[in-house]
Symmetry: C2
Subunit: 105 residues, 2 copies
DNA sequence: TCAACATATATTGTATATCGCATATGACAT
DNA sequence: ATGTCATATGCGATATACAATATATGTTGA
């Protein structure tokens, strides 16, 4: 595996994007649904401007795509591969918690 | 996949830990070597206190283990599974960059 | 005990992230 | 054109993260 600096920096950027509960929730909701902002808001139960903000970040880093249809903007996972990785992490954590709880601060 | 809040929060914590170039470098170096702090410092070319600090974070979140032998403290990957995931992310990024560059800010 | 070496911690300044609130844009219908 | 709905953006307060420097701890050997 090539571990050149720019590659690592790029990966770190994606990790930063994934370092937020709300963004993960949004990504996860989009796994099964293409959805407009309103339904995302309804699902995650966060203020609309916050959801829009997180969506903008996800879009900036190309984790989601968007398509405008009239008043509505539909968001969609750009790259399901990323969510596969998130799945792997969630599975890992779940497993860890079950077998040997982490006692983080 | 269960996506309950605590699981996501835990995953997010790990993502935060991975959101740092120096920590990734250290983890990656430890993939092939158990190593004491001095050799890690020599390898990554960062000030020793900074390396110790990052190691403390990696240790706190149980990504590495440590064993003291005399004056030296040897660090070791606790969970190779995590590094598999990092590998996957690096591979993903590499692939992305090659085929369709992201134009992040 | 003291010196030296390896490692850890504390402190600080700076940068960046997060969220809430207010407001702006943009599209459609009337 | 105006009102309304869907979404986006801007701003301010707070919190968190980063890295550098200085300093402390702990271990070994003389």
């Amino acid at each position: 595996m090539d571990v050149s600096e720019p590659i690592i920096e790029e990966a770190v950027k994606i990790y930063k994007v994934l370092s937020n509960v709300n963004r993960i929730k949004i990504l996860y909701f989009l796994e099964n649904n293409e959805a407009d902002v309103s339904s995302i808001v309804a699902h995650v139960g966060l203020p609309q401007p916050l959801v829009s903000h997180q969506l903008a970040i996800l879009f900036q880093y190309q984790l989601v795509t968007r398509s405008k249809q009239g008043k509505h903007v539909y968001y969609c996972l750009d790259d399901p591969h990323i969510l596969k990785m998130v799945d792997a992490m969630l599975g890992h954590v779940q497993h860890e918690i079950k077998h040997e709880p982490h006692h983080y601060a």
